[in-house]
Symmetry: D2
Subunit: 344 residues, 4 copies
């Protein structure tokens, strides 16, 4: 069945598998001390335009969020997040597990507003009982957000300014960063992200890799003993080459960006098809995720032809569903999608 | 250069890569809800002879030790381990990070003696200040141990009896379990392990896989909400298929055991070569790790021809080094090894 | 200056100090194994009407909340609380520090509604991604709440039913329990609390003691090894007698209830005085805390005569302040208060 | 019965209780913002000869060890301790509970040797796998030790030098510090402790107070947000005055030192009595704890007359017991002790 359920339901981009095959029997040191990992780090530094950036590879998104947040904060510091933020909503309490409170504030289509963040910080630090409160030590954003939306460069700059003014770190969860950077509706580049954030990760799992996220601490800003902390959190792979080879390939000849673009073009076409067919969007998105409102009947009929994700049930009884394209979505897949929609 | 440095310095067994290639574009659900993972679990249950066993897949050894120990213990319980145990010596405090004390006791060539374990438990529970002490809640053993040694079935049975008598769990770190099960010097089978332990894992990373360990809780004994705990520890892969496919392949037609046997045969030959050449062994081992005592001169000369692991410096100035074979060691590698030793 | 700032700004009720003096040089075992502590526990069991209740003494409120919540929950479980709950708002992340998420939901004058709690639980457990979510394992309420309000017996019964239906614990923070039980506006008795909750504490620090809270687990329901967990959390006093003697005195001849009643009578009189003088109440309370809306001018003028607590600034510029009576409030204090208000 | 079981089996020095009575109804702010606490801090700074010292009051020893160690270390750092150290042996894993490994090394009558500490640090930081190891971030010592022994100024200076050379903190558990400072067998002053340590605490619970330990961070060295961390660990008393008043009294006119001296004189007399009567000492001590070897018969006979502490059973069947004097031991108590021993 045609499946747009999510962006992690196939394996890896064939070039990554090919490279794993080619290098398979080359003997290399473990724990990321292999030549592929070194090369991947160098290429990521170049793509970020920051030769001093510290780069590390972890296996998955929740793990990365947990390790980065825990190592960047002192024990009395918490992290400000949209209440819809992945760390607050879908990670089984992984951040609290390491002792930190998530200071959840309302979102705007998945995004944090700089003014809200500043108000939150000000409220806490001017409270006469501030010494009895968790200190804000970091702002967590996702880009694209869980709603498929994107920050503009102006919005990101405003968030960064608030953080810097208050000596607080800005951390971007880039699980789908490629799809954000290649959206036609963005003015944010990887260099902007590097310039404006204190930590971020370039998602691999959802953008062509079997597993792996590349954590970047711009300007040599990694927490002390970060490698050891990764080990301590159980997040260090013995065969670091597995992720190193994949990212080295993704950042060779711009593959990461090219496959992200392909997913965006597919999503753009799908949006057009849905719009023409009269479907209403729950949120206007410009990335690889599309949120559409279906009647219960549409939900059933369409659900028999296309696998999509259930998102939420609205108070009027209609249902929001998510269609996600990915690097693996082919033109043929979108043609089929078009045919299905036409038949409805 | 000829390398016997460790057993995780190449990629995966070619059959695993082949299977990753073949299944690459098949759409499957994430987080381990794919058909390959289901099949792998079934095959592992069969190999263990326990149709009720709970099976989970995690990415690496330290992670597995951390998650299993933390979920099996209450907060006031600690884990008894040999002081040389991997969790005590080489995991950056991953167990303590989750709040549990390691109750370290002396080892016998890397092994725990049942009598020592019982004495340790008795000392604690009969202490008049027992309520001020960490309770022993688990015994951690590795098999093979960090020293390449193996428990006999009698020893394992004795440990299991002590644990059951005291209502304490027995957990086996099987990072190299295949090499233990296929050693000519063992009388312990996978079914014995399943029968005698409350939790153990079948190591993949060091036995043919790119990454992955199969955690087994015999007799349906997984801690409640274990899947959620895996997520909370940051240990859940979105593309669970990556590990599922590998273990499904490893447990098809006995591949796991076959490639372990190959490594053992290589190690047996290397032991014979070293013995014939007059080298002394630091510890007598029957698995894929060989510990040899070298003079500083031998260390330098041999080190120019063969990559091996530094283990420790003895008080007499001699040096203990480790040679490790693996599933990837070829007959040609051992021939070369023989030639190198002969030249010395 | 006349002070109604809070209910913990003097020492202990004189009878408690007297008893500390009388027993001072009697040799007793440490860590709560003294005869005064044993006697206090017995008296509390009697007052609760539960001869099987487990009773423990801790030093303060945040500590008690932290230890009880952490020991009652498994690592993947979180605690549902009003967003205004003390654990969520004023305890510096003490609950998250031990690894548990607070699932904060909206409040009604500081109280949780049973329907909201049930909806929260249902939303989580019926979510198709429930395995990626923190499980609700406990409901935390305060009685009186941080807003000085009280649950009715019907409300408490409804909350208890929701919890029992879902196998979730109900924990009551009774930092000011005496003031709740002796309010003229309550139909909840200590026996009701014992019957309906799975854990609660009888506050001492704010009700006559120098320090100390009595934790009660009705029907022998203390978590296993609770004493050891108290030690592990750093919460065990060597001279447990300090708290034991105080609670033994508080529960002799109903002193705890008598002094609570005295505080309530003072508060009732103060409420009457304020009402007659035309002041508006921010929240209608029936306990020892009174929340009054002042204009900025009133705030300044009254603030020169009476010490009170700043609560919050309203959007219209007016200010909410808190007056708190306590066991130590004398008739003379209230007379002076009346004179001050009259002069305004 | 005559009791020398421990040094925390009575209440407080009468002057402290008297002062609690006198100040009982004076209204003061909570959480340590009272005038008595301020005065006590000032007096402790003066006694330490360090006007810049940060001083905080906590309730008990395990709590203090836990909070200080956790706040001074980063998550990947552990604390070096004698294996007999209180944190390693008798605190129910309170340090591990907050995520830190205790790196236990052998002791010399309860003391750490600087050379052993240096060797331990060197072994770790020169290990080629150092990035997989817990980093030593602190050295924990007790003074007097759990064995009643004391560091000499030279030994303490050597430990301090090792720590400073390696950028590691030196923390002294001074639960019985008064008894150490007033021993006739010491050349270490409170100013020496202040000069040589990075953190230490002046024990109150065992030296005249109902509860309370004074934590000192010399030279303004408190960890950032230490107050908030105290709250977060559940260690902040609402009525901070309880400890403030006690320490203010203990440090008025040298009471702390005077009552410590009294305990030492009693212990010195007891040692002389035991020695004259032919008893053998298990360890030579110069503080308020005396360890004597008894035959089983002596153990029974003496145990019927005097309450003492069981320490350990020796391999020859004899038993080590502990007699502890305290500030509360009277001349009459020692006279009775003498009579009992004489009767044996």
């Amino acid at each position: 069945m045609l499946s747009f359920e999510c962006d992690y339901n196939v394996g890896a981009h064939p070039k990554l598998l090919q490279r794993l095959l080619e290098t398979n029997l080359v003997r290399q040191s473990g724990y990321g001390a292999d030549e592929y990992t070194a090369s991947a780090k160098e290429k990521i530094r170049a793509a970020c335009g920051d030769p001093e950036a510290d780069v590390f590879f972890l296996a998955g998104g929740t793990q990365t969020n947990q390790v980065v947040i825990d190592t960047c904060l002192s024990s009395v510091e918490g992290v400000i997040s949209a209440d819809t933020g992945h760390i607050n909503a879908h990670e089984a309490g992984a951040v609290e597990f390491t002792g930190h409170k998530i200071i959840a504030i309302p979102h705007d289509c998945g995004k944090l507003r700089a003014a809200d963040v500043e108000a939150c910080i000000e409220t806490i630090i001017t409270d006469e009982n501030v010494d009895h409160l968790v200190r804000p030590g970091m702002v967590y954003i996702s880009h694209p957000t869980e709603y498929g939306t994107l920050y503009t460069k102006a919005e990101l700059t405003a968030l960064s300014s608030v953080c810097r003014k208050h000596g607080i770190k800005l951390f971007m969860d880039g699980a789908r960063l490629g799809y954000g950077l290649e959206s036609s509706g963005t003015d944010v580049t990887l260099r902007d992200v590097t310039e404006l954030c204190d930590a971020f990760y370039i998602g691999g799992t959802k953008v062509g890799a079997l597993c792996g996220e590349a954590v970047v601490f711009p300007r040599g800003g990694a927490p002390k003993y970060f490698f050891t902390a990764v080990k301590q959190h159980g997040a260090l792979l013995a065969k670091g080459r597995l992720i190193g080879i994949q990212f080295d390939t993704l950042f060779t000849d711009g593959l990461y960006f090219e496959i992200s673009r392909k997913a965006i073009r597919a999503a753009d076409r799908m949006r057009e098809i849905l719009k023409s067919a009269g479907y209403r969007f729950h949120i206007e998105t410009v990335t690889n995720q599309i949120f559409v409102i279906l009647t219960p009947e549409e939900y059933d009929t369409l659900g028999r032809k296309i696998k999509f994700g259930f998102w939420e049930r609205l108070s009027d009884g209609n249902i929001v569903v998510r269609f996600a394209s990915s690097w693996a979505t082919t033109d043929g897949d979108v043609d089929e999608f078009e045919a299905c929609i036409a038949e409805m």
